[in-house]
């Protein structure tokens, strides 16, 4: 691949029924690019969790996926409330999701932990009242 392949998605903050749509599309595109299934699975999981987080907590945002020769970079940007305590949010099982969100099957407190677990690098840039940008990479052979 000579040039990077870039995908951009707007994530609708109102719509739980379409949440995950960008991840499903990325999965298909990566398959078309011939990326190995184990990398696709990791990117899909990390991106899905990020997408859901933006819908639950930040009223949506945007997702960019950049595929280069040696890595897949996922950049998730929102203008939501920010994360007050990142280390707490990184703990498995910690969740601030409301009951109506939990009744949909979300709010296990596994979102950020899953994103970290399934990527090689993850950086969280968050500011209260301004928003959050999460940058993740999955190295590909």
């Amino acid at each position: 691949m000579a040039e990077n392949v870039v995908f951009h998605f707007d994530v609708d903050g109102e719509d739980f029924s379409s949440a995950g749509g960008a991840s499903v599309t990325v999965k298909k595109k990566l398959r078309q690019l011939g990326i190995a299934p184990e990398y696709i699975r990791r990117v899909a999981i990390a991106m899905y969790e990020g997408e859901i987080n933006m819908v639950i907590h930040a009223n949506g945002g945007s997702a960019d996926v950049i595929v280069s020769d040696d890595e897949i970079k996922i950049v998730l940007t929102d203008t939501g409330p920010g994360i007050p305590d990142v280390s707490l949010a990184m703990q498995e099982g910690y969740s601030t999701a409301r009951d109506n969100i939990r009744s949909l099957g979300f709010g296990a407190g596994m979102g950020l932990p899953n994103m970290k677990k399934y990527t090689d690098t993850m950086e969280i840039d968050t500011e209260l009242g301004r928003g959050t940008t999460i940058t993740m990479t999955v190295k590909i052979a």
Binding site: S17, G20, S23, V24, I45, E49, L104, M110, N114
Partner: protein, 113 residues
Amino acid sequence: MLKMKLSDIINSLSLTVVVGDVERDLEGVYAGDFLSRAMSRVEAGDLWITIMNNVNVIAVASLTDAAAVLLAEDVSLMSDALEAAREKDVTVLSSGLSVYELCVALGKFGTAS
């Protein structure tokens, strides 16, 4: 590791096919309702047993490449989820048995992944 086709367990456990292809190989089983847990634990080719019936279940099943979603306790799929399952080629089965009863019944086929 299970090595059988979905159709084998459909016949054996008298499962209802809600939508989708049943000739897929079945590799293992996962049971649980939290989507993030399922997202990280369901492997490609697994049967995922749950009582969740909304459209997000279909997204997770599609992303994890699950062999099928098995809805326990006669839970029926919500209409937008059924539509999504058709679009994404996700197989959905259902049964009147509980999650526990289904796991016990599936145990005779071998150890899940």
